[in-house]
């Protein structure tokens, strides 16, 4: 069908073979059986590209970068071509009033038929005056666009959970999209999000007409259902007790486990170890850096300190390790107990000699 996603991809120089490879890879990312590949291919051959409105709020455009960057020409380069980007502040051609008009046109003419993608947190303090785009408060734009969208997708940790802008002390009271508009928001967190997960969500939506199964945080289970630690290629070193103790030590050079360097893989959920980044090239732990749990709510606070295994005990200084404090208090208790025993012994000796004296009288 002319105008379908498939035809659009063909016009961009994608071969039939590459197209089917893309369908298979996406099915694999979604955790679907290979028998579902024809269904996905059929959907992409028949369906038109869905309109997408992509809004930027408090963020660094890292998620757009993540989608747009591709080192070698491949299917990844046309990931955004499976959707029709009607509005995207950083990459669209129009500017000024023309840009705002295209947003207005999309959300009025295609009401109920467009997918809204949000990148960045929304400030709520002082009525939300800390983020304006096109003369409008982001909180208002967000609500307006969400009202007519057939699906709301938050990409990146900022849009999902507040991310960097919401990190303590959160001066603008930034919030994730779900806290602004309520209802079902599909969250694709990460810093940035992995574009393959975004594509897979859109393909799932086109193929089955519904969003994939979500966890309690609104994250698709196919991408965030498994603990990074359990799928990590360095996991055998963890079980073997082989740990990097210092940057650049023998263990680091041998690719041992980064647990002792503060890796948050044991508390983070994402499919990084399996699908990796930049077309499967690598991912942080493979590159020798501990995971910082970037797809976890409030990770800038919750996963802090990034390079220490243990969180500090609050109110006792940032380096206050629970075990150091515990050992100190236990030692003090032992000393107090010893002192108590000494006083008791002295008192008893006094009483004994006193009763002996009384006995003599």
């Amino acid at each position: 069908m002319a105008g379908s996603i498939y035809h659009h991809l063909l016009s961009r120089g994608v071969t039939r073979r590459d197209f089917l490879k893309f369908c298979s890879a996406t099915a694999a990312t979604l955790g679907l059986s290979s028998s579902m590949v024809p269904q996905i291919a059929e959907a992409l051959e028949k369906k038109e590209r869905p309109s997408v409105v992509w809004l930027h709020f408090q963020e660094c455009t890292g998620d757009s970068e993540s989608v747009l960057r591709a080192s070698k020409p491949s299917i990844a380069k046309v990931i955004l071509d499976i959707v029709s980007l009607d509005y995207h502040e950083t990459i669209m051609a129009p500017s000024g009033h023309a840009a705002e008009k295209s947003l207005h046109d999309t959300i009025t003419k295609k009401k109920g038929k467009y997918i809204a993608v949000y990148e960045g947190a929304v400030p709520t303090k002082d009525g939300g005056i800390y983020c304006f785009v096109g003369g409008k408060k982001s909180i208002d734009t967000c609500k307006e666009v969400a009202a007519g969208a057939m699906a709301n997708i938050a990409v990146g940790n900022c849009a999902c959970f507040g991310g960097v802008p919401a990190a303590k002390p959160n001066p603008t009271e930034a919030k994730g999209i779900r806290d602004i508009i309520g209802g079902t928001v599909l969250n694709i967190p990460g810093c940035p999000m992995n574009p393959e997960n975004f594509t897979a969500v859109v393909v799932h939506f086109l193929t089955f007409g519904s969003l994939p199964a979500l966890d309690s945080l609104g994250r698709p289970l196919f991408a965030y259902g498994k603990l990074i630690h359990n799928n990590c290629e360095r996991r055998p070193h963890f079980d073997q007790g082989q740990f990097v103790r210092q940057w650049g030590d023998q263990g680091h050079r041998l690719g041992w486990c980064l647990y002792e360097m503060g890796c948050k893989g044991p508390m983070a959920f994402q499919n990084c170890p399996t699908i990796r980044w930049n077309e499967g090239t690598s991912w942080p732990v493979q590159a020798g850096h501990p995971c910082i749990a970037c797809a976890t709510p409030d990770n800038w606070d919750a996963a802090y300190p990034f390079y220490q295994r243990m969180k500090a005990v609050p109110g006792v200084g940032w380096q206050a390790n629970a075990d150091k404090i515990g050992l100190g208090v236990a030692a003090a208790t032992a000393a107090a107990v010893a002192a108590h025993g000494a006083i008791r012994a002295a008192k008893r000796r006094k009483e004994c000699s006193k009763s002996e004296d009384e006995g003599h009288e």
Partner: protein
């Protein structure tokens, strides 16, 4: 004044067993927990021992045993003899409150006599209810962390998975350490006071947790 002694059965078998199962599992859980928190053994490259996997396995098995023991002791609060019941831990009568205050004064050297308590003293009971709260928190936080690593299951969800909705995993882990230290501080005081009272009261307190019997003087 002639004094004879008689012995009285205070601690029933389930009380003694759970006491020692708790003690041994706390020791096991602490040692393995220290390794899991900060792996102190250096393992050379190419060695095929699995210390972390082993420590975690022992920690989890001990955790289940500890949980069973704690829950059984909680059950015994309601069906045990008069010295095992919940009202021995929470002072509900005026007599128990007085006993608790007198104990505190005695340990503070402000009172010469320790109140006569065949079972727990008021203060001991109170410290045990606090320590049981610590136990239950350790169990819940342990299940929360296990729940996360193993990706769910009803026991984990009920046991502590709910905690992940309230606190971040890092905070739960930190508190898991903090409360472990609270338990060890309790252990130091508990062992000292048992020994101290064994001498002061000459009632065979320490042997009672093995045999179940305490000895009391009869004044004639």
């Amino acid at each position: 004044m002639a004094t004879t002694t008689h012995r009285e059965y205070i601690w029933e078998l389930p009380v003694r067993i759970t006491h020692w199962v708790n003690a041994l599992s706390i020791l096991t859980l602490s040692v393995t927990g220290f390794y899991i928190g900060a792996p102190f053994l250096g393992i050379p490259a190419g060695d095929d021992v699995l210390p972390m996997a082993m420590m975690r396995f022992i920690h989890f098995v001990a955790g289940y045993i500890f949980t069973a023991s704690v829950l059984f002791r909680v059950y015994w609060w309601f069906v045990g003899n008069q010295y095992a019941r919940l009202n021995q831990f929470i002072p509900t009568t005026w007599g128990r409150v007085q006993n608790t205050v007198q104990c505190a004064l005695f340990y503070g050297f402000m009172e010469d006599e320790i109140p006569h308590s065949p079972g727990h003293t008021g203060m001991a009971g109170l410290s045990y209810i606090v320590v049981f709260m610590l136990f239950l928190f350790e169990v819940a936080s342990g299940f929360a962390l296990l729940h996360m690593a193993n990706g769910g299951g009803i026991i984990y969800a009920i046991g502590g998975g709910w905690m992940l909705d309230i606190l971040s995993a890092g905070t739960i882990r930190m508190l898991h350490h903090v409360f472990m230290w609270c338990i060890w501080i309790f252990v130091i005081i508990h062992v000292y006071i048992s020994w101290h009272n064994d001498i002061i009261e000459r009632n065979g307190l320490i042997s009672s947790i093995f045999s179940g019997y305490k000895f009391f003087g009869d004044h004639h």
